[in-house]
């Protein structure tokens, strides 16, 4: 990530100004000026500003952080956490959909199945992965891999990061709705533990299709919603400019969702968001996933299914 040009979100302007000042001073220091003290003073100030900013992000700001192009994506987590990762392709019915990647590998020495939406990190890879918006083939591949995992008694890790399932003619003709429904159904049928991590955007049906899990974890600044703030704004407010208000009203943050009992835990992000320290974020995610799988490891298939079903049936029944 450090090779990239650092890109700032609109609301990060104060931090951006401090950072550029630090860069200028560094250049001066390199040419011999003795301003080390000044640099560390401003660095501290910039760090504090970033900390303060991220401690009080609004839901709309979180939406932007969740969609940050440099935020670690599905394949970054796979690369960081999964050894011997072996991607498997195709739904055996129609095609291969690279918006939803999946395969088997080793997580801390043990076999694991991983499925997740990949948004891509460059123009080329974004196109290849269709910006993380899966077609029916992606969800049918997910079902195929989950069934394989179930047969071999291998736990499933879902990495959720999608604006939603792809809306297109072919996707509709080949049963986008049915594919999503069957994928949710497959999640609920697993006799092995599955853990879902909302790493960026949890976009509606396209997300729940792989996020119906024994344990659902969510990154501190990720969002998870029935509809995007933009779409909610144009449908409910009939005004595309109300997305910020919609983001707040829709209660899409990890903190809101934990309160509703929709997610099981929140994974703290590095100061300034996951994109400022991807390897720390990925390592922390690995810890949390290992713990979640560990908690479920003693259960037999029936108990695992029962726990998952009951957990979802209970959602909404005990709201304050």
């Amino acid at each position: 990530m450090s090779d990239h040009i650092r890109s700032y979100l609109d609301f990060e302007k104060p931090v951006a100004e401090l950072d550029s000042k630090i860069d200028e001073l560094r250049a001066l220091a390199a040419s011999g000026s003795d301003i080390g003290e000044e640099i560390s003073r401003i660095e501290e100030k910039a760090g504090q500003a970033l900390h303060d900013l991220y401690a009080t992000l609004t839901p709309w700001q979180k939406t932007q952080v969740a969609r940050h192009p440099q935020r670690p994506h599905c394949l970054d987590y796979i690369e960081g956490l999964i050894a011997e990762f072996t991607p498997l392709a195709g739904d055996r019915k129609f095609g291969e959909d690279e918006a939803l990647v999946g395969g088997f590998g080793r997580f801390r020495g043990e076999s694991i199945c991983v499925i997740g939406q990949e948004k891509g990190a460059s123009t080329e890879s974004r196109l290849k992965h269709n910006f993380g918006m899966a077609r029916p083939e992606g969800y049918r591949k997910a079902v195929r891999l989950m069934e394989l995992a179930d047969r071999f008694g291998i736990p499933v890790l879902s990495l959720v990061d999608t604006a939603g399932a792809y809306p297109g003619i072919g996707a509709e003709e080949r049963g986008q709705a049915e594919a999503i429904a069957r994928s949710t159904d497959a999640c609920l049928s697993l006799g092995v533990p599955n853990v879902a991590v909302i790493i960026g955007e949890g976009g509606s049906g396209g997300a729940i299709a792989i996020a119906t899990a024994s344990r659902v974890l969510m990154l501190e600044h990720a969002i998870y919603s029935v509809i995007s703030p933009e779409a909610a704004s144009s449908i409910l407010w009939r005004d595309a400019a109300k997305a910020q208000e919609a983001a707040t009203s829709m209660k899409i943050t990890a903190q809101d969702l934990a309160r509703f009992g929709v997610i099981d835990s929140i994974l703290k992000e590095p100061v300034g968001g996951a994109h400022r320290d991807p390897s720390a974020m990925i390592a922390a995610t690995g810890e949390a996933v290992a713990q979640a799988i560990g908690e479920l490891s003693g259960l037999d298939a029936d108990a695992i299914r029962k726990q998952r079903r009951q957990k979802f049936l209970d959602i909404g029944r005990k709201l304050a």
Partner: protein
């Protein structure tokens, strides 16, 4: 726990005479022809001539399904009202209140238990007139409860779906109804009872992406709009015109997504036949040869008052002598 509340029997309609509406005629949305409302109502809300299938309210639907137009209404769980404390241009609680006044229903789904050609079935009807039939916590609980009852009664479950999708005003909790209803479908599946879905106009969004597409048999009414993404969203995404008949029942059948398109007049017989065959019950003729149960006496007092829904606003009271 007694889930079955009041028995709903045929009414002597003119006891509770509705106000005579000003508009006795309606226009066929398909052909534009004017038809006498009473003729449409008596024709199961199918326009005579054009065969356009109009939306059917929950009461009319259950009446058209159950023997002797009689069933038990299933008591549905109360849910937390307005979990998000949501408001857009208006408060969600006000929208709900309006929908309740307008339809006389508590939420978008009504569940009945009764006999279909002699055999017990549980049926759920999603009423599009109640906030677009949207799937919120109440609707989700209604479906789960209906499926649980079908398991308990060892009977098939018939779902008449109609919905614009998730109830956005309930946010993530409406999304959670997708896995929750799927849990219900799995319980019925394990009880080895048939789950039959009838897709009516329109059924879209998160509803199609969960229970409405998980039927053992998928039936659609003619011309019904069925799809995941809205036509406008797709057009904006791909920037091209959609093909003729896109997302209509017949189009879905051509693409292998549903089993059959069934005219409303043939629906009851089709559902009864499927239920009998899938539950390995004897054929209709054998059942018919057995001594029939006497029809329940129609009660004079209506057991409930159903205020007119928008589609039935134009309904005249049935002129019975």
């Amino acid at each position: 726990m007694n889930w079955l509340t009041n028995v709903v029997r045929p009414k002597i309609r003119n006891i509770l005479r509705r106000d005579t509406p000003e508009n006795l005629w309606i226009k066929c949305p398909d052909t534009g022809q004017l038809v006498f409302y009473k003729d449409v109502e008596q024709n199961q809300f199918v326009i005579p001539g054009s065969n356009y299938h109009m939306r059917m309210g929950a009461t009319a639907r259950l009446k058209s399904l159950f023997d002797h137009e009689t069933w038990f209404d299933v008591a549905l769980p109360e849910v937390t009202a307005d979990p998000l404390k949501f408001r857009d241009e208006r408060r969600y609680v006000d929208r709900i209140k309006d929908a309740r006044t307008k339809t006389g229903a508590h939420d978008a789904i009504r569940v009945g238990y009764g006999k279909l050609e002699g055999a017990g079935v549980v049926a759920a009807v999603q009423d599009f007139d109640f906030m677009g039939g949207s799937l919120g916590m109440a609707a989700g609980e209604a479906i789960v409860r209906g499926l649980e009852l079908a398991v308990e009664k060892q009977s098939p479950f018939i779902m008449f779906a109609a919905s614009g999708g998730a109830r956005m005003q309930e946010g993530i909790l409406s999304l959670m109804q997708m896995p929750r209803t799927t849990v219900g479908v799995q319980m019925l599946r394990e009880a080895k009872q048939p789950y039959i879905v009838v897709l009516t106009n329109p059924t879209t969004g998160g509803v199609t992406a969960s229970y409405a597409m998980l039927g053992d048999v998928q039936i659609a009414e003619p011309g019904a709009l069925i799809g995941f993404a809205g036509a406008r969203v797709i057009e904006q995404t791909i920037r091209e015109k959609l093909p003729e008949g896109f997302q209509r029942a017949e189009y879905l059948k051509d693409h292998g997504m549903i089993d059959m398109v069934v005219h409303r007049h043939d629906l009851r017989a089709t559902l009864a036949r499927l239920c009998r065959i899938l539950t390995k019950a004897p054929a209709a003729e054998i059942i018919a040869a057995a001594p029939a149960e006497p029809a329940p006496e129609p009660v004079v007092e209506p057991v409930e008052v159903i205020p007119p829904t928008p589609e039935t606003v134009v309904a005249p009271a049935a002129p019975q002598a």
